[in-house]
């Protein structure tokens, strides 16, 4: 459990980091919080020749509100998401989610950029990006580009990032009035990656959803923005309608099998989460009908 030998470079600026990545290409890896990369290196699952440590780049850290947009620097730590008043105001879903990411020691080091670049399908934050309609800001050899969260995640540990790219920030629309969120995940122990989880963002209008975005995670090879949500927006929700949406959700999901759960169990838990989410957001206990929804 010792990493293979590697060269180490501490980037002095974003430009410098990009230069280093351009030179070393696939042989290099960016190091942020190291909470996914270092364990993988110690297990010799990956053996990069060069580590480009961006940890000192203050320009990549911090949370700021710019007009109607919330900008979160790539190096913002999970623990910072939990403490930030801007997050509470503009994107409380992220705070709720961050509380479920690992344990305090890991949250003190792990970063949002690292989490999104890692793209673990069971991670909380990528699903939040879908629910919140985020843009991922990337700097690469061709300059800056913005990638919609829905396009960013492409597979297990796969994203639109090329080896020469640096994820620099996340941009989110500031929550509108009437916004509400729901976050819940099922994990065997606190801090574990979820068996199934749901990060949901809604806009409420009276007793209905004006908008409902359901970001499921750990239900396949990447986070899923469930289309079934469409059935529930703009209408009065009855148990029958919820059951219909739930069936559509089952249909839409193509969950994987692992040691924790079969695909059938994941579908079932996704349905339970849907019922809990809708019942909670609309404050309608009658809709909390478990997996029977």
């Amino acid at each position: 459990m010792k990493a293979a030998a590697f060269a180490y470079a501490r980037a002095t600026s974003v430009a410098n980091a990009l230069e280093l990545l351009a030179v070393h290409g696939e042989k290099a890896r960016v190091l942020s919080g190291g909470q996914s990369l270092i364990p993988a290196m110690n297990l010799r699952l990956v053996a990069p020749d060069v580590i480009v440590d961006i940890g000192e780049l203050a320009e990549l850290r911090g949370i700021a509100v710019k007009g109607e947009t919330l900008v979160i620097g790539a190096l913002t730590r999970h623990a910072d998401l939990l403490k930030s008043s801007d997050i509470v105001k503009c994107a409380p879903l992220l705070g709720a989610a961050a509380a479920h990411v690992a344990h305090p020691a890991i949250r003190n080091r792990g970063t949002i950029g690292g989490s999104l670049a890692q793209a673990d399908p069971a991670s909380e934050l990528p699903a939040c990006m879908l629910a919140l309609g985020a843009s991922i800001v990337v700097h690469g050899p061709g300059g800056e580009r913005r990638i919609a969260a829905e396009d960013f995640f492409t597979g297990i540990y796969e994203t639109q990032l090329a080896p020469q790219d640096l994820l620099v920030a996340i941009e989110l629309p500031v929550a509108r009035t009437g916004s509400a969120h729901f976050f819940q995940e099922f994990a065997r122990r606190h801090g574990d990656y979820a068996i199934v989880g749901l990060a949901a963002q809604a806009v409420l209008q009276g007793d209905r959803f004006a908008d409902l975005r359901l970001g499921y995670f750990a239900v396949g090879d990447k986070p899923v923005l469930a289309k079934a949500a469409g059935k529930l927006a703009g209408v009065a929700i009855t148990p029958a309608l919820l059951a219909e949406a739930s069936d559509a959700l089952s249909h839409e999901l193509d969950p994987h099998e692992d040691q924790q759960a079969t695909p059938a169990m994941r579908r079932h838990l996704a349905r339970v989460l849907l019922a809990r989410c809708v019942a909670s957001l609309l404050n309608r206990p009658d809709l909390n009908i478990g997996g029977r929804a």
Partner: protein, 797 residues
Amino acid sequence: MSPVRSNPERLSVLDRPNSYIGKTVPRPNLDRLLQGRGSYVSDMELPRMAHVVFLRSPYAHAEIVSIDAAAARRMPGVVAVVTGKELADVITPWIGVLSHLKGLKSAPQSAIAVDRVCWQGEAVAAIVATSRVAAEDAAEHVAVEYRELEAVTDMRTALDPATPVIHASLGDNLAFERVLDAGAVDQAFAGSDVVVEAEFIFGRHTGVTLEPRSVVADWDAAEARLTIYQGTQAPHMVQNIAALHLGLRESQVRVVCKDVGGSFGIKVHIYADEMATYALAKLLRRPIKFVADRVESFNTDIHARDHRCRGKIGVRRDGAITAFEIDDLTGIGPYSMYPRTSAIEANQVVNLVGGAYTTENYRARARVVFQNKNVMCQYRAVGHPIACSVTEGLVDLAAMKIGMDPVEIRRRNLIADDAYPCASPSGLRFEQLSHHASLAKIVEMMNYEALRAEQVALRKQGIHRGIGIASFIEVTNPSAAFYGVGGAKISSQDGVAVRLDAQGSVICQTSITEQGQGSQSLTAQIVGSVLGVSMDRVRVILGDTDMTPYGGGTWASRGAGIGGEAALQATKILRKNILDVAAVILQSTPAELDIIDNAVVNIGDGAPRIELDELARIVYFRPDTLPPGIQPELMATRHYVPREYPFAFTNGVQAAWVEVDTDTGFVKLLKHWVVEDCGTIINPQLVDEQIRGGVVQGLGAALFEKCAYDDRGQLTNANMADYLVPMSGEMPDIDVGHVVSPTRESELGAKGAGEAGTAGAAAAVANAVNDALQPFGTTITEIPLTPQVILTALGRI
């Protein structure tokens, strides 16, 4: 504490003024450990020390066609690459059998595999280098060609004629079989109103010590002596076996065991890679260090508990249990582990099922089969969790069938507290147990009636909570009946030497070991109390075969009961010797004197007569002032082993209060209670924490822990993310209560407490979950109780 009986005459040496017995006093080693001054083998560095990394088989079963280490040998820092064949010249193979387990067979096992590997993780080559990193780098360049063989993985088909035989020389894959038939079982079932059957399934479990197995072996060619620094529970056993297989005399081997980062039974065995490390030190004539990394710990630390046990119980309408019957099957990996063997767990299951109850009708069969998975052997509470889960699961099923409360059926069947001494149908002899006092106490502690009312009320709101009860018995203080009679050179006796130093402090050498459970503390408490000195004056030395008396070590809940009694007896002699000298110096008689607070005092009025440091000064520096013919002996040694009873059985009862989310299959542990009876309690806090720690390991088995193998024999969750060790966030509060029935066999009266928590925790939780699920008409007899298992049972998926 509610004593079942009092023994005023017995408390004489313990119940002295300023006694530490029965008091929560801080452990003497606490400051050292908290200040980071512990010395663990993993941290050890010696001059010229090299590190060994083992290249391990990726296959569960394969022939080794060739090993090409030429490239690895040229890598920077590499000292040697050694194969099994080469090491076989230095160390002989072994066979893990014991003669009292009749019919037990196993095949010779080598330190490093020769020609064939039998489980994924078995070592095929040792790479020795100047650092662990260099050795790991080189390991990637050792080319091994394997021819994969069919792996035997399913214990249920291991004995089928179509299944390959793992060791041809053994003829079949059956390692051991035991049958027992006591009373009149068929008649009893025929006369029962209800007979219930179930198959109980247990996940493979492992110990996950914080510090992995670690060894530094140092061969001194000049002295022809091997020093082994190892985190072990049994230094003298390691000494004996290392010497035996390296062709040395025991006097040529010293085993030093300093601080150990947890053991739980994992570190009481002889592992092939540790044997290889000793041999490498001898071969290469330099210190060699082996520290298992986490992945190899999962692949090679012994596993346990992989059992499938069919059980049957008969009961009459009035609740009387008429008979138990079990058929247990367990797969132990490709070898019976050395030297304690891998048949003990199944043997214990046969011994223990039904052991708390009065029925005399009991039939059992246990079969132990080989498979191509990691070896299984004794881990905390050996066999007890299985026996307890099967017994208590059956008792609850029977109660459910006849509509009787689980507490009531136990009241009607547990052996009465005044029925001792007595024996179980399997021949276990009980000196004094307290099942009824324990049950009464736990019912009161948990407020059973109120919980039942709460359960009923919550059910109406769709909240499903359950109560589970599990009575248990526990083997502690084993005599030679455990291993010695079977031919293993594992001592069941322990020795303690105590001496007064020149300033009136005490040095105590004991053969029991410390792995965090408080051996050092309990020894100092006993010595301080019996002698009359304060604990800070008692220095306890353990874990060194050159320094301590000969003895077994710390395992099988024996440290306090056996090592503690040896300490008591040795200290009584030292005390007598001191008083003899004091009487001479003071021109008094020993009967008129006592030692209290580090001074000799008048027994009558307590008036101080002479400080111990002054007495020591006279004895050591001015013996000329003593009358002629007086030769003080300020050092005393005593050994102790139980002889009357093969084991000092303890008993207890556990209760769990859980909530099952029937939509998700998740179980929440709300509260756990234990009442146990380990006899004399030396340090209540240490006992309670032993119980709690043990319970947590049982709760791990109940809900979380399982070594998951695929059907090719690959361990698929050999890491801390996928193998779920119970963590504090999921653990309930655990309330511990005691009933005290001291053993009369020793003056100390202590039985063991280290494993009781593990024995019954899973059974209590499983019964609680089934209690919660009663409205759904389903019972589950498989652990761990994962959400997948529960949702499946509920028909939700």
